[in-house]
Symmetry: C2
Subunit: 421 residues, 2 copies
């Protein structure tokens, strides 16, 4: 069995590599046509997708999945339509492949161009959200990359039904079915095999909870676009406008507490601990947020719980916030760099100098001034759909959209130049 | 002992991380002043460096190092001056840190900037060339990164003497000595420890022979800028100008056969196997190059040896070339992508369409038209000194200069924006 899985995965990798070579030479029209045809196939196939999803939901209930997991698994009509619309939106994006990124001429007449090209083969490992099949497959196709998708076992039937639609899109556009492949087994050993396909897969994108990401980090021999956690901070500086700070903090935490760009820790300058802190804590408590604070914050309201050291490094993804009073912007920056996850952090202040100290000081993919951390999103950045937010520093940092799914090559044009000396 | 090395490496990593945080906020003037002061210290300390090098050379001879290894180890006056000049050249480069890479405004008024920032901490693992200490340390400093250097045991005294000069430069500019650290032991276990410092080191750059690189690839838990091999090709198309082809091929192979951009395999279009092939093979043989050819090439000259399958994937780094006749540009591209190392490959042709097929078809960091593969060099690209040529696809591809030693962050400036919905 183990041997079979090894052979299956090697074959999938070989086919993906072959398809990637062809895709790199495909005009944008063919890739866009495949995306639009896949969107149409999803709309036409919504009943089949819903039926496959019902099978997964039934098995999930029998298996005792939590309500949150069942919710992520569930494909409502609206979610099916969102997948189709998403593929159409990706088709409408400008082609990221072939963009000239830079061009210069050398004194010897050589013309050097840096040109965007696809990465090659991208492996996506995800959990129970079946819509990732369409989203990730579509983003890889648009950027000229072959995709190998490995979804969670809970969503296997749903993902298979969506794959069928993607395959129809590829066929209608005359592209190889190997451009987007799905691992045909739910055996966990297939993930291990996938993470060792160094000759075939150029980058792995893990999407899911902490335990999945940690397994992938520990096992992968292939480079990753990783996003471990979003421990985001909002720092309310001594020179913050109180009304602005109140609006930003409540939005940063409570608009959608479960997204990775939600603020998990509020830092407040000691200089405004008597004015801003009580108002903001009250806002949070009244919005139904649990507040875990340091001593100073505890003293503000009896509903505030005591924060422990663990709170500073916890991603709640829930209506819970930790609050700490700090001595100015430098201590705020030090706290962010010590406990944060290099994701997204914001300062609220009217002091331009303090703002610049924070923006340049935090070692984060996204640093904001006077705006909500919930803007950490490829769509909000105007980059279109994204495959995730990278908290790594190499290649792609922050939102990973179709441009970040490309690499570059140097194309050098000469007239017979040879190198002297 | 193992425990001691572990503790030593963890402490080095912590200090580097601390220094990187400070360096990221250092003005370009301080970094450049440190580089210039280090160059002066090398010039002033040339006798001490030469004496340290003499110790290494003596031990190397006693150990029975090969002549080639002893040559790499040897620091002549000219090589010591070249190190000093190299540091001055790096100081004169424009500051890669803080460059605005892109800027746009969203409809809600948020201004988004993508800004170049240092990667953080860079680990360099190298072999017997002691000049890498100055070159790599200088490139990391210029790009605002802290460096941890681990040279080969053979060059330990030479590297230590060079480190002393770098340290003087840092001190004169008022920068922390921890900006550039050298691993203070020649114990191989230190390399293993270094490759697991995931919390401190952001990227590892291995520089050396195949066995070093393979060990680093196998063991590292940290992302790499890797350069495994330079199996470069020159393809002489059916529409190539004969004189241009002769000049390019002889330069691409024989100018310096030992550099990674030297051509290792010559591909010739069958259409010109009767005209171009004999002339080029004769040039190579007369220049003292060993030619290993396929059947057609063997028939050209009795001095041609028979190529084996292994020849197509061998990096000779010597005056040896493998030669194969192919059926046009598509077979040439297929050969390059099958046997090459994604480094640098060239086509010689007067046919613009064939040129574009080759340039877009080869999956190489550098694709050249009518120019020698020996141009694969950061200096020749006008990028200044480089820490190596990356054959990986992520982050940096091709020459890795000071710009490629940076990552970016998003700086978002608002006026109180919160995310709706």
């Amino acid at each position: 069995m183990q041997e079979d899985i090894h052979a299956t995965m090697v074959a999938i990798g070989d086919r993906a590599k072959q398809a990637a070579g062809e895709l790199a030479r495909t005009p944008t029209e063919a890739r866009d046509a495949a995306l639009r045809a896949a969107a149409a196939a999803i709309r036409e196939g919504r009943e089949a997708i819903a039926a496959a999803n019902a099978r997964d939901m039934e098995a999930g209930r029998a298996k005792g999945l939590t309500a949150a997991m069942l919710d992520r698994l569930h494909l409502t009509d609206a979610r099916i339509e969102a997948m189709a619309k998403g593929l159409g939106d990706i088709a409408a994006l400008p082609d990221p492949v072939g963009r000239p990124l830079a061009e210069w001429m050398r004194p010897n007449g050589l013309v050097i161009q840096r040109v965007a090209v696809p990465l090659g083969v991208i492996g996506i490992i995800y959990e129970s959200r079946p819509n990732v099949t369409a989203d990730a497959g579509g983003l890889c196709l648009k950027s000229g990359n072959a995709a190998i998708l490995r979804g969670g076992s809970e969503s296997f039937h749903s993902s298979s039904a969506i794959m069928e639609c993607l395959r129809k899109g590829l066929a209608e556009a005359g592209l190889s079915a190997d451009c987007i492949q799905m691992v045909p087994t739910t055996d966990r050993a297939a993930v291990g095999e996938m993470l060792r396909l160094t000759g075939a897969i150029d980058v792995i994108v893990p999407r899911g909870g902490k335990s999945l990401i940690e397994r992938v980090i520990a096992e992968s021999r292939i480079p990753l676009f990783q996003h471990l956690e979003g421990i985001c901070h909002t720092y309310v500086d001594g020179a913050a406008d109180l009304e602005m700070a109140r609006q930003i903090v409540i939005n940063a935490k409570m608009r959608r507490p479960g997204i990775c760009g939600a603020t998990e820790t509020l830092l407040v300058d000691r200089n405004v601990a008597g004015t801003h802190l009580p108002a903001i804590v009250k806002d949070l408590l009244e919005a139904g947020c649990e507040v875990r604070g340091d001593r100073t914050t505890e003293a503000v309201d009896e509903r505030v719980l005591a924060a422990t050291e663990d709170d500073w490094s916890t991603e709640y993804l829930d209506a819970i916030i930790s609050v700490k009073v700090v001595d100015g912007v430098d201590e705020a920056v030090a706290h962010v760099n010590r406990y944060g996850s290099r994701h997204t952090d914001a300062i609220v202040t009217e002091d331009a100098e303090a703002a610049e100290r924070f923006l340049s000081g935090v070692d984060s993919a996204i640093a904001l001034h006077n705006a909500s951390t919930q803007f950490a999103d490829g769509g909000e950045f105007g980059m279109g759909a994204e495959i995730g937010i990278s908290t790594g520093k190499l290649h792609a940092r922050g939102p990973v959209g179709v441009e970040q799914l490309c690499t570059y090559k140097y194309v050098v044009r000469g007239a017979g130049q040879v190198r002297p000396g």
